[in-house]
Subunit: 163 residues, 4 copies
C-alpha cells in the first residue's frame, strides 16, 4: 500500500517568521511519525520551512510544483513533481494528501482549504483563523482548529484510527 | 480580439431559490451587454440559472465542465468545454474570465474566489458575505461587494474603463 | 443542447503553406455547416489559418490556450479559454471536440491524435500520413485518412448520422 | 537537490507478458542505480511490472494516477499522486521525469512519447518500433531506440553525463 501523506499548506514569500518556525517543527514531527510530507514545492515560506524540518529529521518530502521544470523546487524536496499547471496544481496537492494541515496564508492557501473540504478531506487549521466562512464544514467534522504542531499530529492520529 | 467573458460562480445543488433568481437576472443583464457568460456548466443552482437568464435574452454561454463528456452540461450552455479534471477546472474558470461575479456558495465557490484573487482578477461578491478572510484583497481593490445584479454590471463597466 | 464542435489540430510555427491553405478551407467549410471550430488558440500555423477560414465565413471559433492569459490568442478566436496548463491543454482540446481533424504536425499534433483515440474519439487525418503506428485504431474504425477538406466534412456528416 | 526520476511508460491491461517481464527487469536496474521510478501508477501491465521490479530491489516508486483517490494505485507504488485528471496526467508524467523509457503500448503510451519530445525530453524506446512518425526527433538526438533494459540504463548514464 502506498504511504500515508500529510499535505502542509501555508504562506509563501509573505509568510511570517513565527509561522515558518511552526512549519519547521510540524515537518519534524511528521518525519518522526514516518509519514510523507507533501507541499507546493517552492523554495519559500511555509513550504520550504516544513520540508526542511522533515529533511533535518530523516523524512521524505514531495513537492508538487506549479512549474514545468523540477529545477525550481526547494532544496529540501526529495521528489519534485512538475505539473506545468500553475495554481491548478493546488487541486493535486489536495487529492494526493490523506489529510491537510493549513498554516496562515493568503488566497493560495485558502483555495487549498476550500478544495480540500469540497473533496471531503480533513483540514487541520494550525494557528489560522479563517473566520466564519467555513463554519458549515466545522459542524460536519472536517475542519479542526489547533494551536500547536503537537495538537495537529494528535488530530491526525485520531483521524487515522477512524479510517 | 476575443470577446469579453464574465465568469459567474455560486452554489450548485445547494443554492437557495433567491440566489438562483438573482443569478438568472444577472445572466440576463450580461447578455444584454453582449458579454459572454462563463460558468461551471453543470445543470444545477447558480450555474444553470445564470446560463438560462443569458440564453433567454440572446446571450452566448460557455460551460467549463468537470466531466470528460460534454453531454453532462446544462441545456442552457452553448459551448461545453469538457476538461475531465473535476474541481481542477475551477482554475480554468478563473483564468478564462476577465472578471468574476460570485454569488453565495460553499467550498467550490470559495476556491474560485481565492484562485481569482491569487491570479489578480477582480471579484464581485453579489450578496455573498465572505467575512474577514479576504480583507487584504478588498484593500488592494480587487474585491467588490455589491447587493444587486445591476450594481455588479456597473462595477464591471468601471473595471473595463480602467483596462 | 450544446453545439457540435469540430477540433482542428496541426502544426504551429512549422506548418507548411499548403497545409495552412487547406486549414483555411476546412475552417470555411466548418463555418458553412454552422459547426463550432475549436483549436489550440495560438496565432500560428494550422490553428490561426483554420480560425481565420471560419471567421471569414461567419463561424464561431474557440481557442484552448496553453497560456494563463487570453490576450495571447489569435485574433481570429472568438472565445479564448485560458488553461494555464501548457501542453496539458491538449487533453481538453480532445475531450471538448465531438470529432477531430488532424492536419500534418509534429509531436504536439501526434499527442492530440493519440489522446483522442485513447478516449474513443473519431480522428480524421487530413493529408497526414502517420505510418503504421495507429493501425489498430484504423481497424476499429476510429481513424479516417482523407485527402481534401471536402472529404473530411463528408466523413463528419457520416459520423453524425451514426451518433 | 531533488532525486533523479526515470519515467517508465508502456501498455496497461493490453501489455504482452514479454514486455511486462522486460519492464520488471528495467525496474530492477533503475532501483539498483538508486534512481526513482515514476509511472502512471495503475495496477496493470508495464506500470505494475516496472514498479514491482523496483520494489523487489529496494527502489522508490512514484505513481501519477488518473484517479481522484490514491487507493486505486498499484500495491508496488510508494508515493501515489492522485491528479483527478484522467489521461491529462500524462503531461505530468513527462514533465516530472528527467528521462523517459517507453516500452510497447497503444495510444496512451504514444501520447506520452509525443508530449515528452514536444517538451524536449529524451525518450528511450525499449523494444518499441514507432515507425517513421518521430523521425525528425531521432535526427535531433532526443529519441533512442534500444533492445534491452541494460542498453536503456546505458543510454540514461550517457545522458546524465552530458547534463
Amino acid at each position: 500500500m502506498s504511504r500515508f501523506i500529510v499535505g502542509v499548506m501555508g504562506g509563501g514569500e509573505t509568510a511570517a517568521a513565527e509561522h515558518c518556525k511552526m512549519a519547521y517543527h510540524l515537518g519534524k514531527l511528521i518525519a518522526q511519525k514516518n509519514w510523507v510530507l507533501l507541499n507546493g514545492g517552492r523554495p519559500a515560506g511555509v513550504m520550504e520551512a516544513s520540508a526542511r524540518g522533515a529533511k533535518d529529521n530523516g523524512g521524505l518530502t514531495i513537492g508538487i510544483l506549479p512549474d514545468r521544470d523540477s529545477r525550481f523546487s526547494s532544496e529540501y524536496i526529495d521528489i519534485a513533481i512538475a505539473t506545468g499547471m500553475g495554481d491548478g496544481r493546488n487541486y493535486i496537492n489536495i487529492l494526493s494528501s490523506h489529510v491537510i494541515v493549513a498554516l496562515p496564508g493568503r488566497a493560495g492557501t485558502i483555495s487549498e482549504i476550500a478544495l480540500a473540504l469540497k473533496n471531503n478531506k480533513n483540514v487541520i487549521l494550525l494557528g489560522f483563523d479563517t473566520g466564519s466562512l467555513f463554519n458549515i464544514y466545522q459542524q460536519s467534522g472536517l475542519l479542526h482548529p489547533v494551536s500547536t504542531p503537537e495538537e495537529a499530529i494528535c488530530v491526525i492520529d485520531n483521524i487515522r484510527k477512524k479510517q
